[in-house]
Symmetry: D2
């Protein structure tokens, strides 16, 4: 999988002169959606199949500030999948290779009524594609 | 009607040290929704009645910068209503009374299928309440 | 200390019909800044004294969705302070008292040149005020 | 000059299921900064030369909604330049060529102290480069 690149926008900076920390959560989403596209399971397709994927948790550790114009390369790595909960890790580096942020998110999968979807049954190809990205942990 | 107050947040500033100009569009929405609440026609109620109100246009003229911690008082004034198109004006002042921004937005009213709603027929009380806020221009 | 209240804005929702998860990071900042105001150490004052407080990490566990118009009450609790690193916890509840999100952030304190500030020496009153909010853990 | 492309992000949608209207102001900035890069006068370079360019006004007319995953092509056209005030027009089209939004912004140029910069004197090459993009209107 290719890393996703986000160019820091002026509107993402704050009066400290650096990227405001909330924007990294946006970048995680951008990179995750790009990852799903590369995997062959676009998120828009999933939603049109009636499966939503609310975020269960996020965490970010900010290692090095970045600012306007920096090109941030984001590596997305699935780290765990129970069939109900998907854990994804993110490594963000600036154009000099310096680690900017390490992050993680957890995702559940529900239908339009908000009920948990049994992904192994309803989307077996997606499950196999995700699991091909890491050694299964079950 | 009471003016709406927005306190400028840190995350709304940019590296120029002032409020990023895109945030004023958010504040217009905050003030407009508060105005609708005061008018007795909460926007959430309208949506649950099946009426959506997409924004047709916005414009802002920035008169004076503001920044973190400033309390911005926003006066909302309906300026025109044709039954199909509602025009709203906004006057934003800082805690010293200085004019910070003058803005305007236009709104249409559609149903869930995206068709124009005939508001005078379907929401006559709302039309009367809006028009009581200014001399009709038809 | 009083809880901080944030009313969910329309622009904070996403196409899933709920608050987009990145906004909670903004609310943590709003509540934290309000907490500092209540404590008697406004963040703007700290910055004008030459002390910046970059965020070292954030984490959120989303417990229950919320959406447009909901009033979210946010309780801020300092959880640890080493003199160099301040840890803050957040409990967010909707108007029915349901837990919406549990969150945590870590903060460091630096001067304009980016060097760590020795807070116990330079801001002893602030340290005492923070520590009065919880049993010291050193 | 090449058009700038923005892919609509999930976090840019709202509960109406479409792009929230405030985001177009961000896209104008993205496209304008890309235009300056293409012109050979990167905005970051201008700021490091001590010239800031606050936005004087913005306006958007929303022609057609767009949503998550859409690729929006943004054409940037300088429309006027008095030496003190730069006017820029934007035409945004979706992947099918449909007009999504027409917008305009005005910009002034100031130094770090907030005083108007005489651009024709201090940045004559930039003025010539901008004016080469349209017939001068003075």
């Amino acid at each position: 999988m290719n890393a996703y690149t986000h160019k820091v926008q002026y509107y993402e900076t704050d009066m400290m002169g650096i990227t405001h920390h909330a924007n990294y959560i946006h970048w995680m989403e951008e990179a995750r959606i790009d990852f799903m596209d590369q995997l062959g399971f676009p998120y828009a397709k999933m939603e049109s199949d009636g499966i939503l994927s609310p975020v269960r948790s996020v965490s970010c550790v900010y290692k090095h500030p970045c600012s306007f114009g920096n090109e941030i390369s984001i590596l997305v790595r699935p780290e765990g999948f129970t069939g109900a909960l998907l854990t994804i890790g993110y490594e963000m580096r600036n154009q000099n290779g310096e680690l900017v942020c390490e992050a993680r998110s957890e995702h559940v999968f529900v239908n339009r009524e908000g009920r948990i979807v049994r992904l192994r049954k309803e989307q077996p190809e997606f499950c196999r594609a995700i699991e091909a990205q890491f050694p299964p942990k079950e």
